[in-house]
Amino acid sequence: METTSRQFRQLSRHALEQATLQHSLDGVREIMPRIRAAALAERGDFDALCDRARDIRERTLRQLDSYLEAFERRVQAAGGTVHWAATGEEACRIVAQICRDAGAERLIKSKSMVTEEIELNAALERDGFTVTETDLGEYIIQLRGEKPSHILAPSLHVTLDEVAETFHQHHDIERSGPLTNATEMLAEARSIMRDKFLQADVGITGANFLVAETGAAVIVTNEGNADLTASLPDTHIVVTGIEKAVPTLDDVGVLLRVLARSAIGERLSNYTTFVHGPRRDGEASGPANYHVVLVDNGRSEMLGTEFQDMLRCIRCSACLNHCPVYTAIGGHAYGSVYSGPMGAVLTPAFAGLPAAAHLPNASTFCGRCEAVCPVRIPLPSLLRRWRQRELNARPVMDGQRFGLGLWRWLNHWPPAYSLAIRCAARVLRRLSVPGRGGQRWIRRLPLLGAAWTDCRDLPAPPGRTFQDEWRRRRS
């Protein structure tokens, strides 16, 4: 997986300076937690559902081979073909071959993070195919040559004016008209997309779940684009990760309940589609050819390791929407198609730790990601494990290792620790000035501390340490 995660510091600094991006991220920060909370409030059993969802995903991962084989048997019995791809390149080759065998030229796609991960579009375009994304957000960023900045809302960073500008650049301007508002832009996109749907030779979708019991690929969208992608062309290809298997329909029901509520604060997405295979005798329409490409690309290597819990992820994006780091810098700063806390765990696994070493460090460990995760992935613990590995892999002593070493030494010598924090508490108190709410604030810190106070004030400590206060109350 290609990433630009090495440039995380520069990219995040750039993101902080982009006013339009900051405006979009304000929206995420203000709206998404509120609508999720409202959706949960109605469902008194949400915690129990999350426990159940975690158990389903955990149980599946521990028997993943048998559920994948059961799914495969079901698809084959229904007339479909299942392909296995150990790497992203293999998956791209398989999809290209299916398209060539179908004599295809024009391909349409619905949004799929796995196909972003394996860079399927670029591979297919290199092979001469024309690929059109049909999710509106994906279509916008495809025209702009950009990567998704959010796993559910890929064009989050693009303003309405920029959408209009993009459509004008790529569509027939005479026909499009001025495109002054969202309604006109939607009508424009709908009309352009109809042609693409009706002319396509192959439709490519992802899958949210693969049901071992029935052989269904379950695809969730709000736009309905996946349904048209899966219905109109003569060939339908599902490309998805091996970890998407679930045992039964009952399990899918539980996961769907937590997915839409966590993702968009709704009971269910507008369209949930269960696809069981190709067109049958007597049916008036539907694809004659049906293929499922199961992509490993590093997933099986995570099984049985300290990162296995990450494979429970159902890509709801709640961890992004609640992360103080993601909502400050957006997705592009992560340099990976997976961003936010889930991306900071997945990217080192898929792209290698050296390429993504900054990402696990981009967390305050506030714990909101774990608190809102519907499958209870211990994201801060997983991030911490990557940090440990990254720190241990550093060949030389640097500032961070020196600082952590000093901290460790202090913690092993209680008198020194006590003296150090007593001094620090007093110095910080002296540096502070009275501020809002009766609280004292530090406006400017010297040396390394300036990195904090350049952007925001630091609440001043009370001047006494916890140990002093403890002693005072006991005496």
Binding site: R62, E90, L228, Y271, L303
Partner: protein
């Protein structure tokens, strides 16, 4: 051995290696039971579909569907032509009651048509219409139409997903329908800002006619 077959072996082996030595997997618990306080019926179905911008109305009998379609089409100012899917068990004579509405058997044109279908079931907990692919209805029609009117019998409105699974397992023991589409209100997108805009790719209007008898 093809590359896919080799990949299959290597992936399954990697999964089995990872599992080696792990504790036995506990048996799956029984199906999830929604607490009684959350269980709803037709009222909940209509309310939840309504919150997702679908509209609904009740009629007494199947024969009352055509006049209801006429009322809706007239009320919305839509073209007086509807495509009626073959899964709706109504003969031409009954549709005569909906004149001057023009009735066709399809197909749904590029865009802008009104489609009238039946419905396998409804699920109250999500306000969802459950549609199955069949020989009588091209599946894409439900997504190409600009307006979708779906008639569902009140007895087919189930409280939960689990009730739906039970019914599906009873009706299709081994050969599952090729596709099953769950539809909650009109198609929408949030990619052009909040609030979501209706009619992204599929219908911009969804109207549900509940047949009480």
């Amino acid at each position: 051995m093809s590359s896919s077959a080799a990949a299959r072996d290597s992936i399954l082996q990697a999964i089995r290696r990872a599992r080696a030595g792990a504790d036995a997997v506990p048996d799956a618990p029984p199906a999830y039971r929604t607490p009684a306080a959350l269980l709803g019926g037709i009222e909940q179905f209509c309310a939840y579909a309504g919150e997702e911008a679908a509209t609904s109305e009740h009629v007494g009998r199947m024969e009352d569907v055509p006049p209801a379609v006429l009322r809706y089409v007239t009320g919305q100012g839509l073209a007086m032509r509807v495509v009626v899917a073959a899964d709706l068990d109504l003969d031409a004579a009954v549709w005569a009651a909906a004149q001057p509405l023009q009735i066709t058997g399809g197909p749904v044109e590029r865009d802008g048509d009104t489609l009238v279908t039946g419905c396998y079931a409804g699920v109250a907990e999500a306000g969802a219409l459950i549609m199955l692919s069949s020989s009588g209805v091209p599946n894409e029609a439900k997504f190409l139409a600009a307006t979708h009117i779906a008639a569902v019998r009140a007895v087919d409105i189930l409280p939960t997903f689990e009730a739906l699974w039970t019914r599906l397992r009873g009706d299709f023991t081994d050969r599952w329908p090729r596709t099953m589409n769950w539809i909650v209100g009109p198609s929408r997108t949030a990619d052009l800002g909040v609030p979501s805009k209706l009619g992204a790719h599929g219908p911009a209007r969804v109207h549900i006619i509940i047949i009480d008898a």
